[in-house]
Amino acid sequence: MPASGLIRLRFTLNGEEVAVQCQPGTRLLELLREEFQLHGAREGCGRGECGSCLVLMDGRAVNSCLVPAFILADSEIVTSEGLAQLKSYADLRKALGALDASGCGFCESGLKIALAALLLSDPQPREEEVRRALSGNFCGCGLHGVAAGREWASGAGSDRLAGRQGRRRRHGRR
């Protein structure tokens, strides 16, 4: 029996079933950071505008700062720490790693989640779709990740990527 005012929840977090007792008004972001010590999702604007708190909820990217605990029952949550379990993880790593898609790191987790959600729904997205998927991610240190992600899409996938890396290597040797 939960203590007065608390609710007991069961949901799946990064592939494992978890149970927690909390106030109904506790937000998912607070649960992740304080109860489960998962610090990938961060509080930015607290209004769903910056994307730094994104997680996957039942396969869709959502702002964990806008999700109260009482709607979590039986849902499946994946944070940036749990992305390795996804089938599309290899593509995601390629998209992020090959393009240096990170800046100061604050927005990186949200960016990964937004791209992961996109790759789950469409393994070969077009530029327009990448732009749309990343339109809720704000990068305060110069849009490194967002610009890189967009470039990845505009480069029509891995072929173009290979070309870019080749050019980079050549520049590096000069």
Binding site: P24, G25, E30, G48, N63, V67, A114, G136
Partner: protein, 294 residues
């Protein structure tokens, strides 16, 4: 913090009975507009009222169905889901309006009902739904009524729901339109909703104006200015002469001056001037389209 009781009804009947017994309960669906409001001044956890009814498990409110003439959209369907399921069916003007709301992750949570209940301030889906003649089904224990969306979403943001009444679905007529446009200017930033929008649809067989609806969002006037100017537009010949365009703009300017609530305009010229620019853009598009269909 006081104890909070969260109810999770699974059927519409159960929800209506529960809400009749607990009319003071907070109805919660997507929460994207509510959560920032429910957080205390210091941020952190939500300050929930003693009773909360979560609508997300009510099967009937999460349905989308199509007949030959209508698309019925449950009010707890997320905007992203509506865009995805209705991709080939939704009027383009509504698809554009849905896509203009916030960003993809917010659209995964935000619901159509929530968007309508947050009123005209954001200028999101209301003008598009109004332009295509959508209606909202309101149900309470033992009663059902339908309202046009512009009557449902009160200009100042307060919905016209009676005690115990719940917005259950939105009925969108599936009509053919030759010309469909939606444009939103500005973005919401927290409680500051500095956006304006215009949605318009028209049927132009052989360059003549057979039917036209246009609605503004974010002016605090609901769809009124659009509807009033429609009558004038319908009698005009297409393509509109520059003189006619100027006269229509002048009419809108007078209307906004006399009827736009000061609380919305803030006494400034930004909103009226932007509304006039949007309307000029709409008329130019209408002219262009009329020439195409000749």
């Amino acid at each position: 913090m006081a104890d909070v009781r969260v109810f999770r009804p699974k059927s519409l009947g159960g929800l209506l009975r529960l809400y009749a017994r607990n009319p003071d309960a907070l109805l919660y669906a997507g929460g994207t507009a509510l959560v920032p409001q429910l957080r205390g001044p210091a941020g952190g956890s939500l300050e929930l009222p003693p009773k909360v009814i979560y609508l997300g498990n009510v099967v009937e409110l999460g349905r989308i169905s199509r007949t030959q003439r209508y698309l019925d959209i449950g009010t707890t369907l997320s905007l992203a889901r509506i865009m995805s399921v209705g991709r080939n069916v939704l009027p383009k003007v509504l698809q554009a309006a849905l896509g203009s709301v916030a960003n993809p992750s917010v659209r995964n949570l935000a619901t159509l009902g929530g968007n309508l209940c947050s009123g005209d301030g954001g200028g999101d889906t209301l003008p598009a739904l109004s332009a295509v003649g959508a209606q909202v089904e309101l149900r309470s224990l033992g009663t059902t009524r339908w309202l046009r969306v512009e009557r449902f979403a009160h200009p100042t943001g307060a919905a016209v729901l009676r005690p115990g009444e719940i917005a259950c679905r939105v009925r969108v007529p599936l009509e053919e339109w030759d010309f469909q446009v939606y444009r939103k200017v500005g973005r919401r930033h927290g409680s500051d909703r500095a956006c304006l929008s215009l949605a318009g649809v028209a049927r132009l067989p052989k360059g003549t104006l057979e039917a036209l609806h246009c609605s503004f969002g974010g002016l605090g006037l609901g769809a009124v200015p659009g509807r009033e100017i429609e009558a004038r537009l319908k009698s005009a010949r297409l393509p509109l002469a520059p003189k006619t365009v100027d006269a229509l703009l002048e009419e809108l300017r007078r209307l906004l001056e006399s009827r736009m609530p000061a609380a919305v305009s803030g006494g400034g010229q930004y909103r009226p001037a932007t509304a006039l620019r949007l309307f000029r853009w709409f008329l130019a598009g209408l002219n262009e389209k009329s020439l195409e269909t000749l």
